[in-house]
């Protein structure tokens, strides 16, 4: 049975363009946002407006949320006026936020008792990917549920991979942040050795990017840093929020992550300068600071 009616909760920097892409793809979209002013552009584009997450869910076969943290997800999914109060049996709740894997599992279990399926489906690709509909989406949950929701996800993303049962999507998103953070540290240390050795880091990036030490960060964010462009991209404060989820998950699974722990401490050096809203390429300056 093809999904036609989709709900969307959370119209921030990521959620708003994701909901817009659902409209463009022809879905009937009902939206809700904590501060109602953000719904106007979506409503102007054809979305219906609901008065609560429960009302969103009541109007939809698939309800998506994209909010800030674990507490927000618990509230919009399970709290008073939450999805659980409005959602029809056999409907689906997809959470695209980045939250603790444990919370994703807990929400899925609570919804399952009402016969509502859940997918944890955090995304990667930033606001650019959200607008372009080219997000990478890492999905945890039941394969059949994913199959049913695939047209919905394909309206928002390009690489959609089921990585395991509920919670696994969040685990993989955390792995994504581990790798992103350490790849940035790689760029930061390489750039600083160049500078302190009197070598132009732009030349270094050119040749190192082409080989076995290349990475997306080295090709894309490192050049911004050496040109003094610290516009996000992805903000340091949000990266820190995610790295704390990583370190919490590491703590619960007893997984020592000494490199990621170091990266998180170094991002604090940027936050200490009041630069939490700079892009993550600012990590280059944490190493620079130490060596000045």
């Amino acid at each position: 049975m093809t999904v036609k009616r989709v709900g969307f909760i959370g119209l921030g920097i990521m959620g708003a363009p994701m909901a817009a892409n659902l409209l463009t793809a022809g879905f009937e979209v009902t939206v809700w946002n904590r501060s109602p002013s953000r719904t106007a552009p979506l409503v102007a584009a054809g979305a219906a407006q609901a008065g609560s997450p429960a009302e969103v869910a009541a109007a939809a076969e698939v309800t998506i949320s994209c909010v800030t943290n674990s507490g927000d997800v618990e509230e919009v999914a399970l709290g008073p006026g939450g999805v659980i109060e409005g959602a029809h049996p056999n409907s689906v709740y997809i959470d695209c936020s980045t939250i603790a894997p444990d919370v994703a599992r807990k929400v899925a279990e609570a919804l399952a008792q009402r016969n509502i399926s859940m997918l944890d489906a955090p995304v990667s690709g930033g606001d650019i990917g959200a607008k372009a509909g080219t997000l990478a989406i890492m999905v945890g949950g039941d394969p059949k549920t994913l199959e049913r929701c695939l047209p919905v996800l394909e309206a928002m993303g390009k690489v959609i991979v089921r990585v395991g049962p509920n919670g696994a999507g969040q685990v993989v998103k955390l792995c994504n942040q581990i790798a992103g953070g350490l790849n940035l540290l790689a760029a930061a240390e390489a750039i600083n050795l160049c500078r302190k050795s009197g070598v132009d880091p732009a030349r270094m990036l050119e040749v190192v990017s082409a080989g076995a030490a290349g990475s997306w960060m080295l090709s894309n964010l490192a050049p911004r840093a050496i040109n003094g462009d610290y516009a996000p991209g992805f903000m340091v404060d949000l990266m820190q929020k995610d790295l704390r989820l990583v370190l919490d998950a590491a703590h619960e699974t007893h997984t020592p992550l000494p490199g990621t722990a170091l990266v998180s401490q170094l991002f604090q050096a940027i936050q200490a300068e009041g630069r939490g809203t700079d892009g993550t390429q600012a990590l280059v300056d944490a190493i620079a600071k130490l060596g000045r």
Copy 2:
């Protein structure tokens, strides 16, 4: 004046195929190796054999070395029977080894006094790149000298970038090892969080590689590690040798590199298991060890 006669000192895993590619490209090649047995295949392929680095240099317009460490380069370049004793004025010495930037500068200065130009030209790409003639070559030295030697380097590599004066090639190679090491640590920590969380790391690599946290290491070496394939690639012992050059250079320039220092300590955890000849993807096991 086109270069025709090229000398090659050091016919190891890298040097032998590099010299072979020079023969294939039509250069007249004279070779020397510390243990003479390794010269036979090259001689069979048309190379002349010399009795010392000095004799190699005497027979060539451009003399290349590819040896193990700073001490080796000082010996073949400046020692008794070294390049400096045989090289003609206006000839060029190109060192493709990975050594300390300071030693590269010192050798260049000593040769300059005899009117011999030098390029430090360390390479990246492994034995596969050496055989295929697709190495990345990071060149420190005079632009005109590079221009003159470009046909020689193009017989061995694909991406050839002048990164600055003498020593800069080595600095950039060290940056390459910084980035490679930390990108591997990124893969190691991500894989271990997956495993300890009960998520298949292969699925994680698939989706993370596609996005902003992707890297060559994540796409190429990480899959080997999760499949238990520890064949080099690039051996842990050699990586450690290079990381010690990095940390020495960081020490001399007062450049704090806390991430790279951590990576080097973790590679020691692999060496402690007697696995110094495994490929560098073994770093995944250093993190695994801690969390077991």
Copy 3:
């Protein structure tokens, strides 16, 4: 006005002997514990038993708590049936737990509105110090309140230092855990270099303890570790709980603590072995693990 009646909430490994020392010192003591069975020995020794934290506070001029974490303190102080519901105006609440400085400040503010003073007074010295009445007590709060409560605190501790306003006691306790953790890492790395170099670590401890690199940990816990005695002392799981408070406080104040972050990751390596109830000297084995 001299304090005579003291309440005590939380009769665990630390709280029980602290309350017993108050009885010995001649105070009239009223006690409460979540699981009531633990009150019996105190009641047998002369304490009165109350039915809730509020009842304890109603019977006392000074009410002390010694519980596990921030949530517990919020509950016994401010929750239903909590201290705030029973405490008399001008009475004092002293919390000896180790919790987040922010929570200590929040509880103090809530109590101040009912004219109840608070001291945050975390302790150091372990169960041995609690029994012997020789704890170090780091006090945050108003100097006059401390002056009034000094006879009470002196019944439990030997070194009692006011370190600042509310919250400061907890900050200093966190500093204590930072220093303890890194001093243990110092011992761990020194012992492992000895062992891997074939030198008897007992000889090393003997001479290093005597000089500028000496510490309480090196003199007291390190010898236990090299003798294979992992009995607590202070358990790894509790240390980790405290180190997470440290890292949370560091996060909120943007204070990069790369060493402490490393220590916390290494304690996870011990927890991964199911040894969370070993004493903290087990950190020696985290370094040993890496080098095996």
Copy 4:
């Protein structure tokens, strides 16, 4: 047979007062120093002056050296005009420098072939201990040789411990520097969390020093740092020299030392400010820098 004639090579900040104490104790002392001007005060106090290490050794039953690094020891012991050329069979060479354990063993073996015994006997306690004759001396070598030399060592030090065969003295000295460095990092992180939390670090040091997290560094050097007194004590540049010996020894024995590696990188942050001659308490500022 009681030792009467003692030679002393290397009259620096440590060596000069050590040699003076030998004179005071009644030994006949012959001295040599690379820059001869430093011998004058000792000669004025009764020492004989020799023209080379060999001449020193020829005039002595026990010859002591206290020089800067491994290369210096090799030179004065085994080089042209070195101890080996002048020393009598059955005489003893004691090296009090801090050098690589491997070099200590190598020198001992070379001397043993001429029937000269060696002790590696690095010291701890700084110039204050050297003047006061209260050094801690960690001795590697044959027990009977130590027994014979004990009166000589007792003229210079207070705690004299044989820790194993040749090289073991140096291993233990390296352990001393591991522990000292990490204990300093403990102080640095604790002080910075205090400051960023608005708590007076002097109060913190007072109470933390008294308990299980106390250390010599916390009691002695940390107060200097918070008072802005960076006079050595022991200079950052010398500490770095020693930490590199530690990391070299760790490398050779495959002993991962992630904490010490971090400490060494942080000392580089101080050297980067041109403060290599400050006392090691400057490490407090490396953490401060990061958090500013």
